[in-house]
Point group: C2
């Protein structure tokens, strides 16, 4: 019907018959067949690494990764192209670029970034990999039990279906089940492919071959330029101050650690070190920190490294705001402008300020907060990136910039970052999150190893002494052992009933330094993560359990079942299995991989390829060492930064196997190790008479190992 | 570094230096200023309705809406263009199309589809409007308290920021607050605009003016071709059978209603009526329904209308599968192919089958389930639509097709649908959802009126007799009063302790039919929703309450506050306010809009523009009638379908005001009312002596009103 139109000043008029200029489609116009989707053309990029391009790829996180580790990749070998992936396909249609990667029936799929949902095998699940304050590092990289891994290099949100969702013309389809009459009906029919999409003009797909999931992860890490080797002090104890603590009170608190015989290496200052925040000024607050240089020097004199909180949003009150403004995006966040640090001039402005006012003073690192939150998707940055792209790679951009700043001074850093993405292995930053379930802690530590990142819990408070202490124990076995009092002001001695336990746990962390630092060196040299998901451990086979759902017409009308997987244990270094206990539990089950395993504390045989019940007193984490495990330990010290030139070692051997272990040492502070300035000393347990004896080879390399006097301890005896 | 490459059969090789073909951007290339975003060019489409186009619009839900109601729109008036919107801007950049719509400081924003999150004013919130099994109808339409509404016509997921998120060069910015020292810091700084984006090539933006939010909603509904007028039987009681009930048992259950003196109008058959499901065959099951024609006839003889469950996914076992296959999309859902019913040939195949095997037999309507779930975003349909687009509009496409089928037979239908979108007002379908909180029920009924749709609860079970009965009461005051036993087999008499209460509630629904049916007629004629959110009621002003958050270093480290709004009451027809009670509560608060309000049951004065405490026995819903409210009621009957030609009325008048009411009647079954075959009878309460007296005018129109004998009841007496 024709409507009567009235004239209106300043607004154009038109007669109308239908509402929309764009009526519904009328005819078939699109070929929807699988055959119409082109096969990917794979090109080799490195031994065991291939890439295919779909459409016109846009910037992805790999543009901000480290350089591929050529020699290490060659050393890792040159596996064959995973034949099944020759059938992979992909195309661009409208605003979507998509990819289809075939799966065999029995393949299991792991990874897709850090997760705390208890999920291990991701098959038959769908995910949206979007960096947010609750996902942090939803890395688009997965590992197949079929001998390969896939990484999709895109700075767009990736939606991915892990073997669920069927094409009507798929090469394989499961049988259709009548739900009316067959109880086996499932809302999760299996499919024969991973399918994924982005809204964008294209993407790069990387394929990593490997005999085992661990080899796939190593190859992915090495190709990304990782792993990283933190400075030694970074592996000591970290304590974050309440946000408004002034300089004098920080010094007092550091001295309090010494008085209480508690080791400490890093103090973290929260937003209050800045003259205003949020957004950040990156300038010292003149009231709380009237003499930054003097303050940092006083901390340094005490052997303490300082870590400063920042977020990427710059205040109008910052001294560098006028310089950075032309390089900021269209939209603000919390009223802070958002600099585009993908651009060299922006990085130079920021780093010049950071060098002069922080690094030159001796600041050791940063906590890069809130790089997982950002302006709307349609926001524009001067480089041409949009808000969604910047959000996905913001953590990468910030880590790369910090790494540049510290590397320029030949000083290693070890920091914290709240968001990351693919290709981050080279960056010495541990992720953290506001998520606070203890089981989540364990899952994040473990799944980070499937994503080329590190994760650490921020222990704040606990529901009880027990809960707090148990969380503390998990922090001990993580990349950063940390207590975070930014909001509550909590300290290691805040709960007197368990202060002694806290002290002995902190000291255990320091005793294990030679083992932990060597594990990081192995990460740097061969890509083996120091903390590992169990699926990366040879011989591991945990059974998952399907719990049938009861019909409930309100909460579960479809009687859907739940899958329960083992997600509460992980590996620490080459030979230790960590099985944390949780508040309210005096015992738990542990799945031991094939082979003999021994109790860390007593050396007693614990089991062999089986699930065992374990219990532990409040101040002990159940730990199991594999047969032939060698664990070098030193005496606890007050600071790692001032470790003496000669450190006696107790080298423990577990079980009955002959074994060897390559103990690593270097200056712990610089990048000189990249030029060969390190030492490796091979420790061997060899058969002698009816038992074993220990042998220490000479330390090789130009660095003089500080581990001089070695005492062997055969724990099986 | 150059890597050694090994030759590999069938896979191309290349030397590599960096990981990615696409390095990080190096230079500024994009103008990020607000000035670079063009202003929208508004064109008038109808009185009080304007549209602007951004980029190249794609298909949106309006392509599936009814035709604009020209005469009714003209009658509603021709308000001026809302001047502030002349500053609206929008553009397309890369894969994003975005829009910016200015806001004044005090504007409140309502709508964005159905919601059960307790939110009323959406200002300072962000939403992603994606049709899913938990959102159902996230309609991209919002209403401003500033005298206009905006609808964005897109079949893409819309991300929208309702006055939150600041452009760095916005005309207005709030002052920056230092969070270190100022407790007023907020993570939700206000902004001066709504901003929204999609990934797509463009979109249409519609602007609806209106003096009040109700006028805006009316204009939006009328422009969409609505509201709808259901058949009269649709307003009676609905009962859904357990899914596997065979024909004979259905008949028995219907007879059981009569035996127990319980009214009933509609029986719903769940998936089990089909020969296989899920996916759907759309064919009768020969075991459970060996004689569909005979069965439907037997039901019809009892005055019962039949509603059949379907979902849009077609089984290979369906008799029409081979015909529809060429019109299906690339991907299946639950192993059902997904026909592209935007294409006329696909619709014709489906409707021919439906007409022949269902409509011709006397089936009265359908429950269109799971139109809110669909294949992956990158799926392709023969029309060229992608999976994300189809998901957003699937409910619209299905409703339009059903409407076409029934209209073709001049039979009104009233059905259920689980997903919808903008422009649905013409379609006589009530949405429903699996969400099952009772407070959620109330919020969904109310918010649906801000989105041009209807929503009804599916009462299944309850935690207790009380809970179940209270839910039943809310169903009474909803577009469809229904009990859903598909999974549990629950019946109105399943809880003997409250069966009498259930009976009296069911009868109240039937007594109120003249009032309810007239309210729907008003919806059809002027776009006023029969069940309305309180923000559409003149004189309504509820205070929201900000509850300060306590610092908790684990659960609320930012001490964020919560906003509590009144979201537990709504309007029913022109003059009744419904304030449901919830299990465990013997009393509640009710916010009465300005003006005098009276208790529905007693006629007593309840309050005037104030918040009052109310209580009610278990079998009563607190109801309040505004001063001058006229409520025509009839005696309860067993069936509405067989309503006699003469129905005596009791016409209640509340309060002391003179008032008039236009009572509507028609055949209740066909579309003849569109040709004028209806009657309107004006009922007046006029001052007479010290009191009021009732007058009934002659029923106008060619239809002979069945409401003959009218008895007035002045409730204030």
């Amino acid at each position: 019907m024709k409507l009567l139109m009235v004239s209106l000043a300043g607004v154009a008029l038109a007669g109308v018959e239908a509402q929309t200029a764009r009526p519904a489609p009328q005819a078939r116009q699109t070929d929807v067949s699988l055959a119409s989707v082109p096969k990917l053309q794979w090109k080799q990029r490195a031994p065991g690494v291939w890439m295919a391009v779909i459409g016109k790829p846009e910037v992805g996180p790999m543009a901000f990764a480290g350089s591929p580790r050529g020699a290490a990749l060659e050393k890792l070998g040159s596996p064959a192209f995973p034949a099944a992936l020759a059938e992979a396909r992909g195309s661009v249609h409208g605003v979507y670029a998509s990819v289809r990667l075939p799966l065999a029936a029995e393949e299991k799929l792991y990874g897709l970034g850090m997760r705390d949902d208890g999920r291990v095998d991701l098959r038959s699940r769908s995910y949206e990999l979007k960096v947010t304050p609750s996902t942090h590092a939803p890395v688009p990289f997965y590992i197949s039990s079929g001998g390969y891994g896939v990484m999709i290099n895109t700075a767009r949100v990736l939606r991915i279906q892990m073997g669920i969702g069927n094409r009507k013309d798929a090469p394989w389809l499961p049988p259709e089940i009548d739900r009316n009459t067959n109880k086996k009906w499932s809302s999760r029919y299996p499919s024969d492919a991973v399918e994924a999409n982005i809204t964008g003009t294209g993407m790069e797909v990387f394929l990593f071959a490997g005999k085992t999931p661990l080899e796939v992860v190593q190859r992915y890490n090495l190709y990304s330029g990782g792993g990283c080797l933190p400075p030694r002090w970074g592996l000591g104890f970290w304590h974050r101050m309440h946000t408004l603590t002034p300089a004098g009170k920080v010094l007092e608190e550091v001295d309090e650690f010494a008085k209480r015989d508690l080791p400490l290496d890093v103090i973290g200052l929260e937003p209050g070190w800045q003259s205003a925040s949020y957004p950040s000024t990156y300038d010292w607050d003149p009231t709380r920190f009237p003499d930054p240089a003097g303050f940092v020097q006083a901390m340094s004199a005490r052997g303490i490294s300082l870590n400063l909180w920042i977020n990427p949003f710059i205040s109008t009150k910052s001294s560098i705001y006028p310089q950075l403004l032309p390089y900021t995006g269209s939209h603000m966040y919390w009223l802070g402008a958002v600099p585009d640090y993908t651009l060299a001039p922006a990085r130079e402005i920021f780093m010049a300020h950071e060098r002069k006012t922080q690094l030159a003073l001796g600041i050791s690192g940063f906590k890069l907060d809130e790089v997982d939150e950002i302006t709307p998707e349609h926001a524009l940055f001067p480089s041409g990136l949009s808000g969604d792209q910047m959000r996905q790679i913001h953590g990468m951009v910030m880590q790369k910039m910090q790494m540049e700043a510290f590397r320029g001074m030949n000083r290693r850093t070890y920091g914290l970052v709240r968001g990351s993405n693919a290709g981050a292995g080279a960056y010495p930053f541990a992720l953290y999150s506001d998520g606070y379930t203890h089981r989540g802690f364990v899952q994040m530590i473990a799944t980070a190893s499937l994503a080329g990142v590190l994760w650490c819990p921020e222990v704040r408070n606990g529901a009880s002494d027990e809960d707090w202490l148990r969380r503390f124990e998990t922090a001990l076995f993580s990349p950063v052992m940390q207590l975070d009092g930014w909001s509550s002001g909590v300290k290691p001695w805040s709960r007197p009933a368990v202060t002694d336990a806290v002290r002995s746990l902190m000291k255990l962390r320091y005793q294990l330094l030679p083992y932990l630092y060597t594990a990081f060196a192995e990460y740097e040299r061969s890509g083996v993560p120091p903390f590992r998901h169990m699926v990366l451990e040879p011989g591991y086979a945990a059974e998952s359990k399907v719990v049938a759902g009861a019909v409930n017409s309100e909460t579960n009308p479809y009687a859907e079942s739940r899958l329960i997987e083992v997600a509460d244990q992980y590996m620490f270094g080459p030979s230790i299995l960590v099985a944390p206990l949780f508040a309210g539990e005096s015992s738990r089950k542990v799945v031991l991989p094939a082979g003999k395993w021994f109790d860390f504390y007593t050396g007693k045989f614990a089991g062999d390829g089986e699930t065992i019940p374990v219990s532990a007193p409040l101040d002990r984490v159940p730990l199991f060492v594999k047969d032939g495990g060698i664990v070098p330990m030193m005496a606890a010290v007050e600071r790692l930064r001032s470790l003496p030139g000669e450190v006696p070692l107790e080298v423990r051997h577990y079980g009955t196997k002959e074994a060897s272990y390559a103990l690593y040492d270097d200056d712990g502070e610089t990048f000189d190790y990249e030029k060969g300035v390190f030492s490796v000393q091979v420790l061997r347990a060899v058969r002698a008479g009816g038992g074993l004896k220990g042998e220490a080879g000479a330390a090789s390399g130009p660095w003089k190992s500080r581990y001089s006097a070695i005492t062997w301890k055969f724990m099986a005896n």
